[in-house]
Symmetry: D3
């Protein structure tokens, strides 16, 4: 197996996509935060009075998608056309699911933009809750869906 | 429970740390990548000939720590003094552990810098392997250790 | 009235422009600085000997236009093709008008790029003059002209 | 009158503040948006259902304060310790006042950080409302208060 | 002779390229580091055990190419499609040649991206070796090749 | 010889400077551009009418110094206190010398900030002149002076 981010001599490159035809690309990536149930309850119930934790995290995720070329060394700068971030809160289990969708008409996929958006949103929730809940864990950071480009549709089953 | 990143009216703020005395701060945060075992083997065996995946990811993580104030909306810009990233590879299980250490003499902690460094390093491994292994999952993104500041030492047990 | 930067549930999004056809977009935005007349005179007369305040501000405005996606959370990253900034100095009234023109072939307008360019140029004039003139006011930050896209030409009358 | 951002030959410099002693610095700067009254009403009444325009603008302003050294060419990179942004809405007049407070223990003042925070917050409100209200004007961008450093307290009267 | 980055009045502008047709652009630029021969030997022989100096520099150069619009005030933001950096080490002479290739389908050339990539890679080698070799010199920073656009192919002979 | 930007296993790190005492640091670095003599004459004679090439380059260099932590992967983020850039033009030889001075009270030196400032200023001159003078070469990028820190004063003789 070889990695296409390295040339034949093993040197890192930004892969040449100049000969590829732009197509519409969509990627959906997710992350899950596990917090103390009371932290999740405070986030939900306090939205109005105490501060909108998920609103802040959503904006951070959208801005994070735009910063992907700065963060991922071999990624291409892409002109993304759409970013949306949704949260799914389970107060009983103490989990917050993050789902980020990114779309662009480009020569290469937007998986990294979606992965970065989901991760930065999750890290931002962590930042705002870490004062009272240091044990928070982020897991299940993964690609859920991908469309556009030669490799066709990818849809995660689990 | 309330969140200190919001004022009494629930408005987001960058918390005022101007009255705090700077102290030496250390934070250690981690992440775990689960890949196909053959992907991990290619990363390990191909380091020289095919490209140094972990070397690229390490640099991305170090650079990522410096970008924390850009990514996390309510975080303070900090002059970090040290970043190191270590990987622990388990070829049999198909996992790569990432551990990031950050240190600074500051008025507030460097947890977010360590969390961001670990996450960006893990996302960069994902980026380089996603061509052949779309099922990669990042999990266990969490704080392992924290020192300095009023709340004293935090050491995760699990 | 609803805002198109939020979805049906009121969540902030980067609006999906992927289905829009790129067209040539132009936007012109302005700002007005009101300073002490003697500050304006120093800017004009001192250009050569004491430093080119407006030259510095012009560059800051052009660079500012490129930073728009970093500053405005829900804006799209755009590949702008042209930025020009003109100043209109009225020594008697003690005012400096800033007018920024931005052009791009894109799926969405460049109003924010022009508004940001004009504003950053004005803030930079403020920065260089604040040592001796703390009372400076920036006003009339507004869109003057817009062309391209479905909504057609907008031309401000006042 | 001369400008301290230029040397004796009129060349732009980042002024040498290395010999100054750090002191606690505070700056308060403001901006005023004038919109159609119905736009202001939608912002206020729709906060929950249609999207939190001012919440987005507040975060943009806080992040904008951190980007000041990138935007203002001759400004010093400062480690700011606090940013808060308040809005004062007058539905009858159709105005939204923005007031930004910044604090840092530094060798030079934080006026530009406060001015930038107020301006970026105002531009972000503009961005979200421009679809239905192209005539919005931002005015009264000015310093209201400044404390710390040799020049002492500045308090604007008007 | 006049400079096209200034308008007829001598004001700096981002040149309007909106009427140009995008074409495939390639640029190759280089730089040469002259170090102590023993420093070069340490870089070559120590690659595995002591750290991969050129691997770090290569990544810095690729990331640097993406930062060109941030660094060069009047440059256009470009969506680059390919960056590769090669090193040519001469242990006897104590030199390391850097050669950067950049490609993009754009309205304007990618010379500045290639020049920036080569330079940032060379500066990064300097950074890692300056502890023991303060006399390092970077020279021969120049364009070697350029293709695409109206002016046709440029090929440097020396 | 070993490199202090790598740990004992050869892994890249941001060196730990947390135990070092901050001292006043100064660094002076230079670069030399060699252009066609007529290009240099146009730069000098056209300053007023055709555009201030060196004024633009000076600002780019100052801004470039602030971007050093973004460009040089293992560098520390530093709060620089002073940047100045001087040009020495030799019309007969067709050369422009760039000299950048940076100062900060920090735990580590500011050589990279000075080297980056000089280089970015030189690249910016190149950018503005490349339309008519593709053969421009940047050379002699080197450290001229360094003060502060344990290693004492470094003064280049050649």
């Amino acid at each position: 197996m070889s990695f296409n981010h390295f040339d034949a001599s093993g040197n890192a490159i930004m892969v040449d996509v100049s000969q590829k035809t732009p197509t519409m690309r969509t990627a959906v990536a997710g992350a899950v935060l596990t917090l103390k149930p009371e932290t999740v309850q405070s986030i939900v119930s306090g939205k109005m009075a105490k501060g909108d934790v998920l609103g802040v995290a959503r904006l951070a995720g959208i801005a994070g998608a735009k910063k992907t070329p700065d963060l991922i060394p071999l990624s291409h700068p892409l002109a993304i056309h759409h970013v949306a971030i949704e949260f799914e809160v389970d107060e009983a289990k103490g989990t917050i699911g993050v789902m980020a969708t990114v779309r662009a008409f480009e020569r290469t996929g937007v998986e990294m933009e979606a992965m970065t958006a989901a991760t930065v949103a999750a890290l931002t929730v962590y930042d705002m809750c870490k004062g009272t809940d240091k044990g928070i864990v982020i897991s299940d950071v993964k690609l859920h869906y991908k469309e556009g480009g030669k490799s066709g549709v990818f849809k995660r089953e689990d």
